[in-house]
Subunit: 217 residues, 2 copies
DNA sequence: ATGCCAATCTTTGTATACAAATAGAGAAAC
DNA sequence: GTTTCTCTATTTGTATACAAAGATTGGCAT
């Protein structure tokens, strides 16, 4: 059996990512420990790990709270993602196998089908968001750069917690899906400049959709 | 007084960065604890933090060793630094104050003076490396992007541990210093494209100096 | 002598106990 | 009523104790 600390780390982590813990909620070691039926030691270890990942903030002698982000954080994150994910595309393109391209195309198709379903469906947006994450993760994996993957991973969970996908307009969603298709086409053509440019545009478009334009600070 | 865990974290950290701990050396919690006159608990916390930072590797039930890197790691790191640090330049240029420009110019001058001193001096290279780090850190700080700084920081300590600066030829060193000057000039001119391009070239040149050219894998 | 297995010894993982620090409630002063 | 101060109650930080998992050494068989 895996270590308790790892298990509880994953539990708290997914709880935060699913938004089950309200923003800036205090995470008291003892409380978590008794509610999970374990001692404080592994809870403490889990919280420190989450802090290193940026999902919780800990102040000395004051304990941990689930982290909070503002518009400025989001702007920084999308800026960096636009750079790093486009670089991932650049690295992935010359390495892409036919099977990998097909995998990406299938996700595109699935997302397009999901987008055509009933707009009022509550599960539609989370499902799209999940597929979207798979699409991006796949390209990062294809880039074959461990560290690039790690860097992007630390950036990605903030938008997840904030559930930024909820603000997507139908137009923006359609554009996003066209971007995905275009990225795959560019990769299929072996054109890494094209692919990385579309990816950069894709992430920057998402930034503007979520943050609105203009605000400098 | 600061927390013991933080103190010991910093102690182990600087020990690793200074190369005082040999590569892949085991870090036994109990041993460290008694040698520092404390209990295992804060040592353990420090080691986990270092693991999150990538400076040590921990395997379940097997403990921690100081991390090890190979040529492939270095290649990834310099690739990413070339992108991220040039982005830092781009952000920093329109924000740069006269005082900050002057600060950077002073570092350039100090490094040039150091470079002119006796080649055989043992302390010359470490001193140059230290100034070099200050130069780069200053620009990152000027970029005013917390996260960008954090990302670069996790990349930077690997070359430090490996003491890559030791392989610099006199030619490479001279070029490196000219790059620094040119970066500052570009920033002074308010030309962020120029500045970021030189920075990118600067880091890529360092990569080739350290790794040699050609090897793809 | 060499390879393999078992017992032991070391080291990590978790629980508990205690000390130190902070937050919060309540009382006193204004 | 409001502010501030003190005392108490919570909560974190560290130490220690114990259990479980690995590493190691010695003996046994071949």
């Amino acid at each position: 059996m895996a270590k308790i600390a790892t298990t509880v780390y994953e539990q708290i982590r997914t709880a935060i990512l699913n938004g089950e813990l309200s923003n800036s909620e205090r995470l008291v070691e003892e409380d978590l420990a008794v509610s999970l039926g374990i001692s404080r030691t592994p809870v403490r270890e889990a919280l420190r790990r989450l802090a290193a990942e940026g999902l919780v903030d800990v102040s000395p002698n004051r304990g941990a709270r689930v982290a909070e982000w503002d518009v400025h954080d989001l702007r920084e994150i999308f800026d960096l993602r636009s750079i790093l994910e486009s670089h991932a595309c650049e690295l992935a393109t010359p390495r892409a196998s036919a099977a990998e391209i097909e995998f990406l195309e299938n996700i595109c198709t699935e997302m397009e089908e999901l987008a055509r379903t009933d707009l009022s469906s509550e599960t539609r947006l989370p499902a799209l968001a999940a597929k979207n994450r798979i699409f991006h993760s796949k390209i990062i994996e294809m880039s074959n750069s461990t560290r690039l993957g790690l860097l992007i991973e630390t950036l990605i969970h903030v938008p997840i917690v904030m559930q930024t996908y909820k603000v997507y307009s139908p137009d923006a969603l359609a554009r996003s899906l066209r971007h995905h298709r275009e990225i795959v086409n560019a990769m299929k053509a072996g054109d890494e400049v094209w692919a990385s440019s579309v990816m950069r545009a894709h992430v920057l478009a998402a930034r503007e959709e979520i943050l609105g334009q203009g605000q400098t600070e």
